[in-house]
Symmetry: C2
Subunit: 220 residues, 2 copies
């Protein structure tokens, strides 16, 4: 992937930047911007500044912020491990894919709400994942017309769960109102331990329920 | 609730704003800001401007943006219908609550990523919902220590699904790359109809799977 960490030296005016900028370098800089300033920090001007080039040089390589976003989507999705769909049983493949997918997006939380609604057009790594997942569903006997809704249902759960990884420890702390809501307050008290462990427990319960329930639906 | 639509007239300098501003009015204005400019548009300065008061007048009522956010959370959560948890069977109550919850957040998409990680402290409407849901789970025989993870799993699915309602029609359009990913492209083609219908189909499959799977886990 790109050469993160080797800053691009400022070019002399008029010298074309081709050969310096690259898709990987731009994508890495975009991810860096989003990580430090959130998604709203990603503008073509801020990106050019971070890359130490003029905006016009950036536009020579990326035609729009939309194109950069597609590159970002594809680089992030390329980290999701879907390899088990090639040979493992369906439920094992769903399980390992879902855990990997949640981990990748938990590490890129500001991107969840963007990528959840970004078209896959022109994103080959993303499409390769969907192709492998579709193939795994077909091999497990899923009728073609129920595959996309099932994948979307799993992804909805995965995206929502990725948020939960980043939730603060005290998310369910009822505070001084606690005595007015005794059943909830008691249930929160017994769930135990850290937010990371709690998020894992909720993800396990939900994912295993989805796998059981989807298999049951397939059988009918 | 608040008197939306009746603009607050600009106060003369020095005249205290108490009696003009109210929690409901501030909350309505905050929701209006978020709807028009996204979550990043919500600042205390922008909120004061929208309410046509000086920032100091706003701070007389709301001590921080965090407090306003808590009011917003509570007003949005108050729209979720959880009434079936009082008497209906568990699966019916989960079903009607989840559909209502998804609908409310689909209408407030910019808030999903914020409220998904916002503590419930000081939010009585939100706590009232969790209390009723917890009571419904207890009545259905759920062990106390598995209730919060199950609620979080359902909420993760609901939040992720609320994003999907707002996804564009062409989200799975593989475009010119289609022939390279034939199985996925064919599965997308047969899923049919509009994005709204597709989102409903995915939500139905996922929610019914979760209900089946959670019931199966409870039985073991």
């Amino acid at each position: 992937m790109g050469t993160v960490g080797s800053p691009v030296s400022r070019r002399r005016a008029g010298r074309p930047p081709r050969g310096v900028l690259s898709r990987d370098l731009i994508t890495d800089a975009a991810l860096g911007l989003i990580a430090s300033q959130g998604y709203e920090g990603l503008t073509m001007a801020a990106l050019a500044h971070r890359l130490r080039v003029a905006p016009s040089a950036l536009y020579n390589h990326a035609e729009s912020k939309q194109e950069v976003l597609r590159w970002v989507e594809d680089q992030v999705m390329a980290q999701v491990d879907f390899s088990d769909f090639a040979e493992a049983p369906w439920d094992e493949a769903v399980r390992s894919w879902a855990w990997s997918y949640r981990g990748v997006f938990a590490a890129h939380a500001p991107l969840i709400s963007v990528i959840a609604v970004l078209p896959v057009t022109g994103a080959p790594e993303t499409l390769a994942m969907y192709e492998a997942v579709t193939q795994g569903f077909l091999r497990a006997g899923w009728p073609e017309d129920r595959i996309i809704p099932a994948i979307v249902a799993l992804e909805s759960f995965i995206f929502g769960s990725a948020f939960d990884v980043a939730a603060p420890e005290d998310i369910f702390e009822s505070g001084s109102l606690g005595p007015d809501y005794p059943l909830f307050t008691a249930a929160v008290r017994v769930r135990g331990s850290s937010q990371a462990d709690s998020a894992d427990a909720a993800f396990t319960i939900g994912l295993e329920a989805l796998i059981i329930g989807l298999k049951a639906q397939l059988a009918t």
